[in-house]
């Protein structure tokens, strides 16, 4: 009888193995079907973006072509992409999912979140019917949730990579510089990042990160070492709306840098209150400094809204809330100072641009950049007066006068330079007057004052050297 029992058990076991295997296959086919369904909802909305940008480097204006990705999100052909892909583009070419190529124009860009909106020239589109993606709710993402990244890594169009959400609110905790901005523009102060293990390579930038329902939940922006980082869609939606409606994102600034409270709660707060966020730094002459907010204060409310950042990830919504307050609005801020409540009134200020506009003084072979207050702080300048030299052409008037990269031009021919517009005016006047020498006062490296002489006589002679004198032609 024992042998009969053994045979029975064996038969049941043998029957069970194919059943499990079949179930697994079934499951994976279901997953594959889900991936394909999600893909089909967004892949037709994917574009490869080829920007042609103008850069002001080394004393001249040069054109550069790059590549990135983007996703169509309106029926009018608006495409969401990264600022570092298209934010400085003068013209744009896009390759659609059906391989048709059409031009596009830049609507506006926001370097603070590394996002830009471009608009396809649909009149020139001869392909299939236009499709646009559904924008999802990035707050509903869960760690471990399947996600798909679409894009053009290394310009290879229509590429799909697959993975999971590794972390839904990653704070990188370090200063993140926006590529191509000379280290003058930070990004990511207003958002955490969605960290994924789907491969994100150069060219994926600006492409959509989608969930299994085929909704765009993030804009892929960075990647490396097997980790990808996307800007959450809830941040991107807000930015895109502002860019389309106002041509920029209106943000307020009060001049405070926040720190999470966890490590300091006992010391600063004790039993005095619940919540709050630590004021780490207060920028001199900022609205916060004028309102006497001090480093070490714990901010409890801003404009009547409670603030709470026990951990680093919780700082970003507060930064966003402050930024989204109306510009030049006076708000009440309650802080905890030495365990006592203090209420102050702060008038917000426009955050403005981080990086100034560029210009080329062609006759001098010199490129310059306007100095914004943010740049002045970053470069430790006393004020934002003057313009920043960003390069000179070799053998040019500027390079012979030894104007160095990152010198601050403060004075030209006795006229104090206020900003870039003023420089353009003075430059036009000086070049029209055709002097042989122009004296320029610069701060070398933004620090040491120095007088330099632009020898324009040589610049005038130069063309004459190569051109033959009129009499010799006969």
């Amino acid at each position: 009888m024992k042998w009969l029992l053994g045979v029975l058990v064996l038969s049941v076991g043998l029957a069970a193995v194919p059943a499990t295997w079949a179930a697994e296959v079934e499951n994976s086919l279901e997953l594959q079907a889900a991936v394909e369904a999600a893909r089909d909802r967004v892949l037709p909305c994917l574009v490869r973006v080829q920007p042609i940008s103008e850069l002001y480097v080394g004393g001249r204006k040069v054109k550069r072509s790059g590549f990135g990705s983007g996703v169509i999100f309106t029926h009018e052909g608006h495409v969401l992409t990264n600022y570092h892909v298209a934010g400085r583009a003068k013209s744009l070419l896009c390759v659609m999912a059906d391989k048709e190529e059409i031009p596009a124009t830049l609507v506006a860009g926001d370097p603070w979140t590394d996002l830009a909106v471009i608009k396809l020239d649909l009149d020139r589109y001869k392909g299939h019917e236009l499709r646009w993606a559904v924008l999802g709710d990035s707050d509903k993402l869960e760690v471990g949730e399947f996600v798909i990244a679409l894009g053009s890594p290394y310009a290879l169009t229509r590429t799909l990579t697959f993975g999971v959400v590794s972390c839904k609110d990653r704070s990188l905790g370090v200063r993140v510089d926006l590529p191509g901005e000379m280290g003058l523009q930070e990004t990511g102060q207003f958002n955490t990042w969605i960290q994924v293990d789907a491969l994100i390579n150069p060219g994926n930038s600006g492409g959509p990160l989608i969930n299994m329902r085929g909704e765009v939940v993030g804009i892929n922006a960075r990647g490396g070492a097997g980790m990808g980082f996307a800007i959450p869609m809830n941040v991107a939606k807000d930015v895109a709306r502002e860019l389309i409606e106002h041509g920029k994102v209106r943000r307020s600034w009060i001049g405070v840098e926040f720190q999470a409270l966890a490590k300091f709660a006992d010391r600063f707060v004790g039993d005095a209150a619940e919540g709050g966020v630590l004021v780490g730094n207060v920028v001199a002459d900022s609205p916060a400094s004028k309102a006497d907010i001090r480093p070490g204060d714990v901010m409890l409310t801003f404009d009547g809204k409670p603030t709470h950042a026990r951990f680093e990830e919780e700082i970003y919504p507060i930064a966003r809330m402050v930024a989204r307050t109306e510009i030049e609005k006076t708000v009440e801020v309650t802080v905890l100072r030495r365990k006592k409540h203090v209420t102050v009134r702060v008038t917000t200020q426009d955050l403005g641009r981080a990086v100034g506009e560029d210009f080329v003084c062609e006759a001098w072979g010199l490129t310059v950049k306007d100095i914004t207050p943010s740049m002045a702080r970053m470069l430790a300048l006393d004020d934002d007066q003057g313009v920043l030299a960003t390069g000179s052409l070799s053998d040019s008037v500027a390079s012979k006068a030894k104007i160095g990269n990152r010198d601050v031009i403060r004075e030209i021919a006795g006229t104090k330079i206020r900003d870039l517009d003023h420089l353009k005016e003075v430059y036009a006047k000086v070049t029209a007057a055709k002097p042989t020498k122009v004296i320029m006062k610069v701060l070398q490296g933004g620090r040491t004052p120095r007088l330099l002489v632009l020898n324009l006589a040589e610049a005038v002679k130069e063309p004459g050297k190569s051109a033959k004198p009129e009499g010799s032609e006969k």
């Binding site: 840098e257 720190q259 490590k263 300091f264 006992d266 010391r267 600063f268 630590l278 780490g280 730094n281 207060v282 480093p295 070490g296 430790a380 020498k437 122009v438 004296i439 070398q444 620090r447 040491t448 004052p449 120095r450 007088l451 002489v453 020898n455």
Partner: protein, 484 residues
């Protein structure tokens, strides 16, 4: 057989006798010196970084222990303490490398650029345990031309504690008005700066202070018409300078004289009035120094100097700087001036109607303390090295001159301060919410903390001109020196 024995014996006498008679006194002297006089010879090691943040190099100089309490004499004043604007960052820490691969930290004490000497002091906490063998300078044995000298040198690759030597003779004694005489020796010895010089009898008679490059290369020479003429190639050459023990003892006996402070005027961005600049500014003649910036709370500010002024005369002497390399002479004059004395400077001041000439009376002051001159404090409990804030540091970091705090110069890896997130370069302004304006305040707060063993230690630091809070909850059982 007998004759052969006699011949052999005679040969033996001929060979042995001269050997005995010709015993080399120099060889004996060298052996004696190597056996008894190398204890004070050390290597001084430090990093010399470029001011623009690029590159830099490790410097190893010969040093001599000159006192039992840890004073170290070193040649190379401009390397040990580069003048402001020399293109190098002033080194902040020095290592004194003893035989047996023992290293001690040292701090800059003073320098004399004219004599190319600098004095360091081994930090007291380490100095107490160090067994020092100071050199004994002999001021009684005079150096005279033709005298034989032996110079010892510790090889820079110190693994084997090797000491080499050279034997030379004094060629010239050059009197220097107002300064000790300079002794020159036969031959040019590269890398012997800072080496002790001994007489054949073993007494320490001098110290090599420098080597100057001469126009005459090594090459081959011949005498033509009583003059030396070079016939072959070769480079380098030059002369080696020696300072005698009399002069050294004179300086060492009067540390204030040795550590004589440079004078300063308090201007920056000095620029020569070149022909091109003079033309562009509408100044008749080139030659002079344009002031870029007048420093706050400086002698120049007190005297009423303004940015853009052109200095064209000092005490009746014309300042005729037409190229930037001419700046050094003026800067040297200011550095070597006596603090408190007033000087007349002729200045061209720009105005609406061009430049007008005027006289400015200025009293040079003693230059402010440099980074090297302030003593570093080592907080072993939390793994930090700190220095007080100097004007030098505040100016180069564009910080207000009235800034308060102590500067972190080193953080021990995995020390409590490092775990809190304190970094080298931070300025600690507050600790546990108490103001920490200077080193005494820091020590007081730390002493209280070590007794109270507070749960959290919070630092309010200034990092890249921004305020930041960092905090740690130390495991007090594992804090070195924490009170029970």
């Amino acid at each position: 057989m007998k004759a052969r024995t006699i011949v052999l014996a005679a040969l033996a006498v001929i060979v042995i006798l001269p050997t005995a008679v010709r015993a080399d006194p120099v060889e004996d002297a060298v052996k004696n010196l190597l056996a008894t006089k190398t204890g004070s010879m050390v290597l001084v090691e430090f990093d010399l970084k470029n001011a623009d943040g690029t590159g830099g190099r490790e410097v190893k100089l010969q040093g001599t222990i000159v006192s039992a309490d840890g004073l170290v004499l070193v040649s190379g004043a401009k390397q040990v303490d580069p003048p402001v604007g020399a293109g190098s960052v002033k080194p902040t820490s020095f290592k004194i490398h003893f035989p047996g691969d023992v290293k001690k930290d040292a701090t800059f004490v003073g320098k004399d650029e004219e004599l190319n000497l600098a004095l360091l002091r081994i930090n007291p906490e380490d100095g107490e345990t160090a067994k020092l063998d100071p050199a004994a300078f002999d001021a009684d044995t005079k150096m005279t031309p033709g005298q034989l000298l032996i110079i010892l040198k510790r090889l820079p690759k110190n693994e084997d504690d090797l000491v080499t030597f050279t034997v030379t003779r004094i060629s010239t004694v050059v009197p220097k008005p107002g300064l000790p005489s300079e002794y020159r020796i036969l031959g040019s010895f590269n890398g012997f700066e800072g080496c002790p010089v001994f007489a054949a009898g073993g007494s320490l008679v001098g110290y090599v202070t420098g080597r100057q490059r001469g126009r005459m290369g090594r090459g081959s020479f011949r005498v033509v018409g009583g003059r030396l003429e070079r016939v072959g190639g070769g480079g380098g050459g030059g002369r080696t300078r020696i300072l005698d023990s009399v002069a050294l003892l004179d300086f060492l006996s009067d540390p204030t004289k040795f550590a004589r402070r440079d004078c300063w005027l308090g201007v920056s961005g000095l620029q020569a009035l070149t022909k091109e600049l003079a033309e562009a500014c509408g100044i008749e003649k080139p030659g002079g120094l344009i002031i870029g910036e007048v420093k706050k709370e400086s002698p120049a500010e007190s005297a009423g100097f303004q940015a853009g002024d052109v200095i064209v005369g000092l005490d009746g002497k014309v300042i005729d700087a037409k190229k930037d390399r001419d700046l050094e002479s003026f800067q040297k004059t200011v550095r070597r001036a006596k603090a408190g004395e007033s000087h007349q400077m002729k200045v061209l001041r720009p105005g609406e109607k061009g430049y007008r000439e005027m006289m400015v009376t200025v009293v040079f002051g003693e230059s402010p303390l440099t980074e090297n001159e302030v003593v570093q404090y080592h907080d072993k409990a939390f793994g930090l090295k700190l220095k007080p804030l100097t004007r030098d540091f505040l100016e180069s970091n564009r910080l207000p001159l009235d800034s308060k705090g102590v500067r972190v110069t080193w953080v021990e890896s995995a020390g409590w301060a490092s775990i809190a997130g304190v970094r080298s370069g931070d300025i600690i302004q507050k600790m546990v919410l108490k103001p920490c304006p200077d080193m005494d305040a820091y020590k007081k707060i730390m002493a209280d903390l070590m007794t109270e063993r507070d749960a959290e230690v919070c630092y309010n630091v200034l990092r890249q001109r921004k305020s930041l809070f960092v905090c740690v909850r130390p495991d007090w059982a594992n804090v070195d020196g924490a009170g029970k």
